[in-house]
């Protein structure tokens, strides 16, 4: 019988269920996500040492392939790779090859000739890291650093690490994600991670124009009224609002958005007193969040950045480990077949 194409997980997991690429959180189980968080925890300690290096990726070459510019994500990936002792090459492709008309496939062929072991990919088009993972030589790991509106799995995992540090566990947690979910790869990955890790409630707070179609199918509830949505919250995650949303007639004005969906002290007061405030950054003060909230005692925004390095170290070392294990397994099989 003719079936629709399967889910992409054969792509990012080895036969034994280890990571070999890190493209999306879809299809990754609670054990693996917890494993990533635990591994990251062990790397936090590395960041506190005087010599902040472990030799896990010594001799490996990591290429940061950024087709869309990003300062923070790229620098935390770079730091993470360097702390794992890898050689790092940063390529900002949006300013070089593709603007000269070279196709992504051709760019990749050239980069593979440099014998890289891992590509960290950020791309404006949803699914680009999947495409790259399908077309690269076996043995090269692909890490998704954000693709279109699809996924930003390392960001979601560093958010989960931050939540776990402050709340201990996910069971019973009430979490809200506020703002432009429609255009947000971060929100899609967060909703997936929170569901898998067992959060009790995931509320989306946004106007109808900033919601994907059938958003509840992702495993969340929708609340148009922020005051109601803030009630009893343990975690509130604010999303960045791009200024161009006004031009596409999605919103009337920044002022109206801030009044209805901006996180002010007044609105935060409606949540649980120990509610933490998160934001994937970069923040727009006075657009989605009041300055005093962003800098206030409940804000954990800077913890998120620190945790970003540890999560990226965890994911990079695990994916490289999966690739190496897979290669060894294939070699063993070949040898055995030779002996037989």
């Amino acid at each position: 019988m003719i079936a629709n194409a399967a889910s992409p997980n054969h792509l990012q997991l080895t036969r034994d269920g280890q990571l070999r690429h890190f493209l999306t959180l879809d299809g990754l189980g609670r054990d693996l996500l917890t494993d990533i968080l635990d591994t990251a925890d062990s790397f936090i300690e590395v960041g506190e040492r005087r010599i902040k290096k472990v030799p896990l990726l010594r001799g490996r070459t990591v290429v940061n392939l950024f087709f869309e510019s990003s300062t923070r994500t790229r620098s935390t990936f770079e730091l993470a790779a360097k702390r794992l002792s890898a050689d790092v090459l940063n390529l900002d492709i949006n300013t070089s090859a593709t603007s000269k008309g070279e196709s992504l496939s051709d760019t990749l062929l050239n980069l593979e000739a440099m014998a890289s072991d891992m590509f960290v990919v950020r791309h404006a088009q949803s699914g680009a890291p999947h495409f790259i993972a399908e077309s690269v030589t076996p043995g090269v790991a692909i890490i998704n650093a954000g693709d279109g509106r699809h996924a930003h799995p390392t960001q979601a995992m560093l958010d989960m690490l931050t939540i776990r540090q402050h709340k201990g566990a996910f069971e019973g947690l009430k979490v809200a994600i506020v703002g432009d979910v429609l255009h947000s790869r971060v929100a899609r990955s967060q909703i997936r991670a929170l569901n898998e890790l067992g959060a009790e409630q995931i509320r989306i707070i946004a106007p109808g124009t900033l919601l994907p179609r059938d958003v509840e199918s992702l495993g969340c509830t929708v609340e148009y009224d922020m005051a109601r949505g803030m009630k009893d919250l343990d975690v509130v995650i604010m999303l960045r609002l791009q200024k161009e949303r006004m031009e596409g007639a999605l919103l009337p004005s920044e002022r109206e958005f801030y009044r209805l969906y901006g996180l002010s002290q007044d609105k935060l007061a409606l949540a649980h007193p120990e509610c933490i405030v998160m934001h994937p950054g970069p923040i727009n003060r006075g657009v989605e969040i009041e300055s005093s909230v962003a800098d206030g005692p409940q804000s954990v925004i800077l913890n998120q950045v620190t945790n970003g390095i540890a999560i990226r170290m965890a994911v990079m070392s695990m994916a490289m480990g999966g690739q190496v294990a897979e290669r060894q397994q294939k070699l063993t099989e070949l040898t055995e077949r030779g002996q037989a």
């Binding site: 879809d26 196709s103 496939s105 791309h123 495409f131 509106r149 899609r188 179609r213």
Partner: protein, 433 residues
Amino acid sequence: MSGNERSSGVSLKITGGQLLDGHGVETSNIALLIRGGRIAATGEAARHAEADQTFNADGCFITPGFVDLYCNLREPGNGQKGNIASETRAAAKGGFTTVCASPETSPVNDSRAVTHLIRDAAVTDSPIRVLPVGALTRGLEGEMLSDMAGLTAAGCIAVGNGSRGVRNARILRRCMAYAQTFGLTIMFRPENQSLAADGYAHDGLVTSRLGLLGIPEVAETASVMEMLLLAEETGVRLHLSQLSCGRSVEMIADARRRGIAVTADVAMHQLVFTEDALAGFDSRFHLRPPLRSEADRKALVAGVREGVIDAIVSQHLPHDSAAKQAPLPATEPGLSSIESVLSLGLSLVKRGELALSDLVRGLTSGPASVIGRVASIGHDDIADLCVFDPKAHWTPDDQSLISAGRHAPVIGQALAGVVRLTLVEGQEAWVSA
């Protein structure tokens, strides 16, 4: 493909197998005698006739040749995505004896010169009948009327918009009034461009999860409604092409009850696949209109079963491999589908969703009647025939596919349904042992 050349030549006797006419009536084939491009005798009379050649159709179905109302032959064009020779051979392998060539070529078929070019190329390069569809507007730009009367005189059998919308309803209304003057059929793929915007996938569960840009159903249904109202007012014969939404089927059924002259088709892949096909970012299933929900798929299948949808089309749109080798949003839409239509259809029959007779009607008499032709197997009918073995298997891959486009809906997996013989006016257009 000149008539004289066809009608001369040898006689052929097909024995065995089951006959299935366009209305789905099934009878055992005693024998069919083909001579002079026509069916010269059937039954007992044919059994005893002498013929130069015989073809044993045991285990096969014998149907009228398939008629495709919408496919792209890519000629004129730059050749990388196929040409009339490659794509009509692929069509013959798929059991098609008549294909309507979309006007969306390069240059667009909006002049007598391009129509003549297509017909001339078909005469020398095509084993099957190629019927050009002219452009509804000049350059398919939706702004000025094309020379519809001239196109028809040159051999176009209808006018259409290919895959491009017409933004301005006033121009659409004038296109209809003008086409109606000459009794022309408008073949129109409904899509409201401002609602479809930059989308490339069904606005639904999969787009929400994968963060793809959606095309809402209303992009099609708003256009279907507009077209039905304009057709009612102008009286033009309207054929709505490549539908994707269940609601469109309902609206067409309603319009027919009100007496509006409207017919419709659906691409075979819309009857088999859904939005889930994009779950792994498979760029082959980047289609326009997009694959929609399971509910839509079921409603489209029901539309075929109940005859609201007259025809099943291939929506064949071959590409060079580079056009599909990119992240999904950057790829070009379309499947190389014409060789797989029969096999996909038989999978629906096997699942019990469609009767074999519905499938054959949707591929033969249904589309033929839309363009004023007949597809039947009787004494003195034109010998356009397809003989296929429903149990034999083939595997679409780089070796087996004939089309220049290798992005078939199923690749590397065995499919049931192999065309053994395609005859156009009695001449072999395709034969496989």
